[in-house]
């Protein structure tokens, strides 16, 4: 059928099928700003367009419905301000505000937010924050925590009204918006709370005197990819069309554990439009691990692209490539499979039972360290530091407790997506949304039967990853089908596939045992962890190792115990017939801190000690040895490491002050809500530490070359998955080169063109890749200084060391200068020609941990058990902050994900292993209109092992929110919830056992 739509003021007549969604047609027509979030019911809103000026989700309306209507996409809104001789409209004020406010992280949902904002401001030029949040409520963002997008829209509104705006960094502004509660708690006046301030665009920063003044580092530079992303440019993996491209689909197992007795694909292959159907019988049987890690993979090799056995509901059975998605889906229905069902293990406590069925009985299985498939054991950890039993013997009291954490999803809004094709040299190109392009190339080469040199992996922009894309998850599917058909193949997960067949955070059951003196000195601390890796052992050892390595390292004890801590961490990581767990931001550490920080709170209260003083008495301090550095290093040889910077006490001081701890904690009056006898307030804290990269392993590389105009190409293998790492790397290069960020043209990551980088994980990019960038930039700067010294030489020699680079110029000591452009012309064209360039790589012998104090304030309904988180404050010691806007964006987004871990996110399976959560309605992630107030404080210490004193910031916000909320619930109503998420029924049950008195 033909339809006529006016798209961005251009009337188009289009041929569509009645079933075509508007999203599908718009993307087919090249409007790539309209994104697909994989959802089935319009939950994510990344496909938002304006239909007759009203924001709607184009994924769940038919193109035919738009016949005769007008459609607006971001492509029609604004454009880059520089298009050569042609005058452009420039960016729309909303787009400009999004850029200035740092509202863009991965940028996948940004076009949708811009359109929703436009519809709002067109109708209501003076919206309140509540109205802005309501307008954004249909667009899920997993990166930002909505703080900066909301502020950007308010900023745009002020600008569009013609009001004077001081600057994009005008600090805290009082707002009308208050956190919402359950129905009857909405608009609840929170007497006693401070005036509600949101952390605005820039966070609060406390700086240690050691921190040096810099020109570009430390400044809120705009993201280098912001202008591109705010326009919705075709920057993501799926934003290409290729002639003859096939659509891939995967048949997923409907049963939790079975052998495939018979599989008949003849009908599927015979279906017109089907190009290939592959089963385990059609491709080489190569065992590998999907974990995107360096060689050797620190875990078992237990996976095949396709196997004759399925190990969870959602496991792969067959691949299909067809001309259209509809044909591919029809082909899946035509595949006949006969399963010989086997007993399924769904409870990890049963995995190691002697009678348990063996999940991995394949002869190709390759052990790593203590993995033992005969016991369904993917990995095993036994770490003893000091003399734990002696420590327990010396304790006045022993505290034991059991804790549990659920399986949760990364829920990046861009699903896993890959496009593969043969290039003109018959090299296989894998264009993929990955955090680990170089690992993808290395790991897939044997699986595909290709040498590494015949594979090129391109990582375009990534619409969020959070560890979910530190996995070689779907690239092999498309690659096998390209090899089979010779044609380009595109494979993109649906949201349901994300839930049933992607990776997740490891669920764990944790037992804590702690010996304590009456004065609060910890004498010994022990954790046992039963970790469920699901059907495959990807990241099994390393994730769970970090559970102990980070969370059990924080509390070393005091006095003589501080000199020689007694710490035990044992873990069994077992297989079950559930979807595999893997990497998820925080990498095992949030699990550990749920147990450790809930446990510490209980001990402090039992000993009638101030919970913060008790903690600080026992925490690791500067100059002390990281207690685990002598015992464990991700399956590699451990090497002792001294911690040089610990800003934890200052974090506590700053955080306490901002949240008003001293006025609230222990104040019975504050805990009650006047006029609402069913409500109680509570306040809680958790102290946490993370790591910064993996020492002696993680390596990043960078190359920089100088262009004619004095700009520089910075080529990096590091992968910016929305975090802003391209920007902070550019800032560090600009600082060294004495230029501005807009003179650094960043390109990442392409295995053919950029240096190796291990990828974006382990909080390593700013630290590892950043140091590589600085080293490469120093080489370039040195060459510029040498050339400038020659150019500026008059009567006497000038030493290159005397040349100072700043503002795009090279200054002699007397103030004369040559510009970078003059240097470039001189070297490229005029005299003693040379290409000024630098290449460097870096790996670190240390992993300096960031520290943080996380505070939470809650209101608990003692009748229903409902918990409303009203406020989160996080004070973070991440060393020197290279970009306060992008860094605070990391904290805000991380706290929001962690908030879901605290109160609502979990993945539950029925007795057949089938998932309860298959979409973003049942798996609820926080929306813009239900967020608590969030504040970020940076405590800037100077980490001496980094050129600019930086430590990591990306993962630590995941660690403390859940236990701080748990501790706040305890403070509010006196009950302990030891298994997160803290749901209303769990609180209600606990209150039944221990009612609130008075």
């Amino acid at each position: 059928m033909k339809i006529t739509i006016t798209i961005n003021q251009q009337t188009k007549t289009l041929e569509v099928h009645p079933s075509d969604t508007l999203l599908k047609v718009l993307r087919r027509e090249g409007y790539f700003s309209v994104k697909f979030g994989g959802c089935s019911e319009g939950e994510c809103g990344s496909c938002t367009v304006l239909l007759d000026g009203v924001p709607v989700n184009s994924c769940c309306m038919l193109a035919a419905q738009a016949d005769g209507h007008t459609v607006e996409t971001v492509e029609g809104l604004g454009e880059h301000p520089e298009h050569g001789w042609k005058t452009t409209r420039g960016l729309h004020p909303i787009q400009q505000a999004m850029v200035e406010a740092g509202a863009i992280q991965c940028g996948y949902c940004t076009p949708a937010m811009v359109l929703a904002a436009k519809a709002l401001l067109d109708k209501n030029p003076e919206p309140t924050e509540t109205e802005v949040r309501d307008a954004l409520s249909g667009i899920l963002c997993r990166c930002t925590g909505y703080v900066k997008p909301v502020e950007a829209i308010l900023l745009a509104a002020r600008q569009m009204r013609g009001e004077q705006v001081l600057s994009e960094t005008d600090g805290a502004i009082p707002v009308d918006w208050k956190p919402s509660g359950t129905s009857s708690e909405e608009n609840l006046p929170l007497e006693g709370s401070p005036v509600q301030y949101q952390t605005r665009i820039t966070p609060k920063i406390w700086t240690h005197p050691d921190v040096a003044t810099t020109s570009v580092v430390g400044k809120p530079e705009k993201k280098v990819d912001a202008v591109k992303l705010v326009q919705g440019k075709p920057a993501f993996t799926d934003d290409i069309e290729m002639r003859g491209m096939l659509v891939a689909k995967v048949l997923h197992s409907p049963v939790a554990h079975a052998r495939i007795k018979r599989i008949d694909v003849s009908k599927a292959r015979a279906l017109p439009g089907v190009a290939a159907v592959l089963t385990w019988q059609d491709i080489p049987r190569v065992v590998y691990s999907t974990a995107g890690q360096s060689d050797p993979i620190p875990g078992p090799l237990d996976t095949f692209s396709l196997d004759n056995k399925v190990r969870f509901v959602g496991d792969r059975v067959a691949f299909v490539a067809a001309e259209t998605e509809e044909i591919a889906e029809k082909a899946l229905e035509l595949i006949e499979v006969e399963y010989e069902e086997l007993p399924a293990i769904l409870d990890p406590a049963l995995s190691m039972h002697p009678d348990a069925i063996r999940i991995h009985d394949e002869p190709e299985y390759v052990n790593f360290a203590d993995s033992d498939p005969t016991k369904n054991l993917a990995a095993k950890i036994r770490i003893d530091i000091g003399d734990v039993e002696k420590g327990f013997a010396e304790a006045d009291m022993i505290f034991e407790g059991d804790y549990e954490v659920p399986k949760v999803q990364q829920a990046h809004i861009e699903p896993h997506v890959v496009v593969t094709y043969w290039d003109e040299d018959d090299r296989l190109v894998i264009r993929t949304s990955t955090q680990v392009p170089f690992h993808v190339r290395r790991i897939l080469a044997p699986v595909l039967g290709l040498p590494i040199k015949r594979i090129r992996v391109i990582k375009p922009r990534i619409g969020g990853g959070f560890g979910g894309k530190q996995e070689v998850l779907i690239e092999d599917v498309a690659a096998h089908l390209t090899i089979a058909t010779g044609r380009p193949v595109r494979y993109e997960y649906t949201r349901e596939e994300e839930f049933i067949a992607a990776r997740s955070r490891h669920p764990m059951r944790i037992h804590m045992k702690t010996g304590v003196k009456r004065d609060g000195t910890i004498t010994a601390n022990e954790m046992y962890c039963l970790s469920d890796t699901g059907a495959y052992g990807c990241h099994a050892l390393t994730v769970t190792g970090n559970t102990g390595h980070k969370s059990m390292a924080l509390y070393v004890g005091d006095g003589k115990y501080r000199q020689s801590p007694n710490i035990r961490f044992y873990a069994d990581i077992v297989y079950t017939n559930t979807p595999p767990a893997g990497a998820y931001r925080g990498y095992g550490v949030p699990q550990g801190y749920w147990a450790v920080e809930r446990h510490m709170e209980k001990i402090a209260r039992a000993l009638h000690l101030d919970p913060i003083e008790f903690r600080l008495k026992n925490t690791l301090r500067a100059g002390e040895l990281h207690p685990f550095s002598t015992a464990w290093s991700e399956g590699r040889e451990p090497r002792p490491e001294v911690i040089h910077t610990v800003g934890l006490e200052e974090c506590v001081r700053q955080g306490k002050s901002l949240i008003g701890w001293d006025d609230k904690f222990g104040n019975p009056e504050w805990h009650r809500v006047p006029g609402r006898p069913e409500l109680r307030r509570g306040i809680g804290v958790a102290l946490v530490m993370q790591g910064t990269a993996i020492p002696y392993l993680d390596m990043g590389g960078a190359s920089i070359k100088m262009n004619d105009d004095g700009s520089f190409n910075l080529l990096i293998g590091a992968t910016d998955l929305g975090t802003g790492s391209d920007t902070v790397l550019a800032q560090m290069a600009a600082e060294v080169l004495g230029t501005s960020v807009d003179n650094i043209i960043v390109y990442s990551s392409d295995t053919d063109f950029t240096p190796f980088d291990k990828g974006a994980y382990a909080s390593s990019t700013t630290y590892i890749s950043g140091t590589a960038v600085v080293k490469a930039a120093e080489q370039v700067a040195e060459r510029i200084r040498i050339r400038a010294a020659e150019m500026l030489r008059q009567n006497e020699e000038i030493s290159p060391d005397e040349i100072r680079l700043a503002d795009g110029k090279a200054f002699a000591p007397d103030g004369r200068y040559v510009t970078h452009q003059e240097v470039a012309y001189h070297t490229l064209h005029h005299q003693n020609q040379e290409q000024i360039m630098g290449v460097a790589s870096y790996f670190s012998p240390v992993s300096p941990p960031p520290f943080a104090a996380q505070f939470a304030e809650v209101t608990v309904n003692i009748e229903t058990g409902a918990v409303t988180v009203n406020r989160l404050v996080m004070a973070v010691d991440s060393g020197v902050i290279v970009n306060p806007v992008t860094a605070s964006g990391q904290i805000e987004g991380g706290m929001t994900q962690a908030l879901g871990y605290a109160v609502c996110e979990e993945m539950v399976y029925d007795e057949k292993g089938k998932a309860r959560e298959r979409n973003l309605k049942d798996y609820h992630i926080f929306r813009a209109d239900e967020m608590p107030v969030m504040d970020t404080i940076f405590v800037q210490t100077y980490e001496p092992s980094h050129p600019f004193g930086a430590k990591a910031v990306a993962e630590i916000p995941m660690d403390g929110v859940a236990p701080a909320v748990g501790n706040a619930v305890l403070d509010a109503v006196g009950v302990d919830i030891d298994a997160n998420p803290i749901t209303p029924e769990k609180v209600w049950r606990a209150l039944k056992e221990k009612p609130v008195i008075g």
Partner: protein, 254 residues
């Protein structure tokens, strides 16, 4: 898959199309459900040109056109506060601008706050072509067996009624695990409905006054255990919410 799309100009044309058996032909309101939920081959009849997006005052209250969007309910000055609140809480901003009221009632499950509240208010559906008015409760009870060829023209709601609702969810905007809605007429007629589970909200009581409602509530919630909450929880908390809501209604004027 949707194999035919029709956009009739008149109700008669629409009804003629909807009466077809082959292919099965379904009404398309906002499209947010049907555009993604059809595995079998069907035809759809888009109702956008039929003028069914209206809100009119009637003797008994309001008549709301079937294709009226939820956001219109939120913004329209004549819509009572209890309905505005329920429509607003039903879903996010984008989907409120897409979902029609009738479409929401046809596709909702027991976790719908809007469905729960409208059932408590004894909303009635006006069906074409017969021109019959049936209660929402009757429709929910028989929804799976509803005849093809019928079309909701409008939904009637009373305005001389006090309605209060409350719910529990994991977060402020999460799907609720328990909803309680109470409607009370000037005559003291009282209707209590619970939701948060199952295929549709459930009527607890429709009586001349609220006596015995706590027993009825427990009876209805006794079998409500599902993967989201236990019946034990729902019975206990449901009773508390009900008490609170009855007090709220007492305090409300009118």
């Amino acid at each position: 898959m949707i194999i035919e799309y029709h956009r009739p100009d008149t109700l008669d044309q629409a009804l003629a199309l909807l009466s077809r058996q082959n292919p099965p032909t379904l009404p398309l309101g906002g499209g947010s459900y049907l555009s993604r939920h059809t595995r079998e081959d069907v035809a759809v009849v888009d109702l956008q040109k039929l003028g069914l997006d209206f809100i009119e005052s009637t003797e008994k209250g309001l008549s709301i056109g079937a294709t009226t969007r939820l956001q219109t309910l939120v913004e329209h000055p004549e819509i009572p506060q209890w309905l505005k609140q329920a429509a607003h809480r039903e879903t996010s901003a984008n989907l409120r601008r897409m979902q029609s009221l009738a479409g929401t009632l046809v596709t909702c499950n027991g976790r719908s706050i809007l469905g729960t509240v409208l059932l408590a208010a004894d909303a009635r559906l006006y069906w074409l072509p017969q021109g019959e008015e049936k209660s929402l409760g009757d429709y929910f009870a028989l929804r799976l067996h509803w005849n093809q060829g019928l079309l909701i023209r409008s939904i009637s709601i009373p305005t001389k009624v006090k309605v209060a609702s409350d719910w529990v969810a994991r977060t402020p905007k999460d799907l609720p695990v328990l909803v309680v809605a109470v409607a009370q007429w000037p005559s003291k007629r009282t209707r209590v409905v619970v939701g948060g589970f199952g295929n549709t909200p459930l009527l607890v009581l429709d009586g001349p006054e609220p006596g015995g409602v706590d027993v009825a509530l427990k009876s209805v919630l006794k079998q409500s255990t599902d993967e989201w909450a236990s019946s034990e929880y729902r019975m206990d908390v449901g009773e508390k919410l009900l008490k609170r809501l009855l007090k709220t209604l007492e305090a409300l004027e009118g």
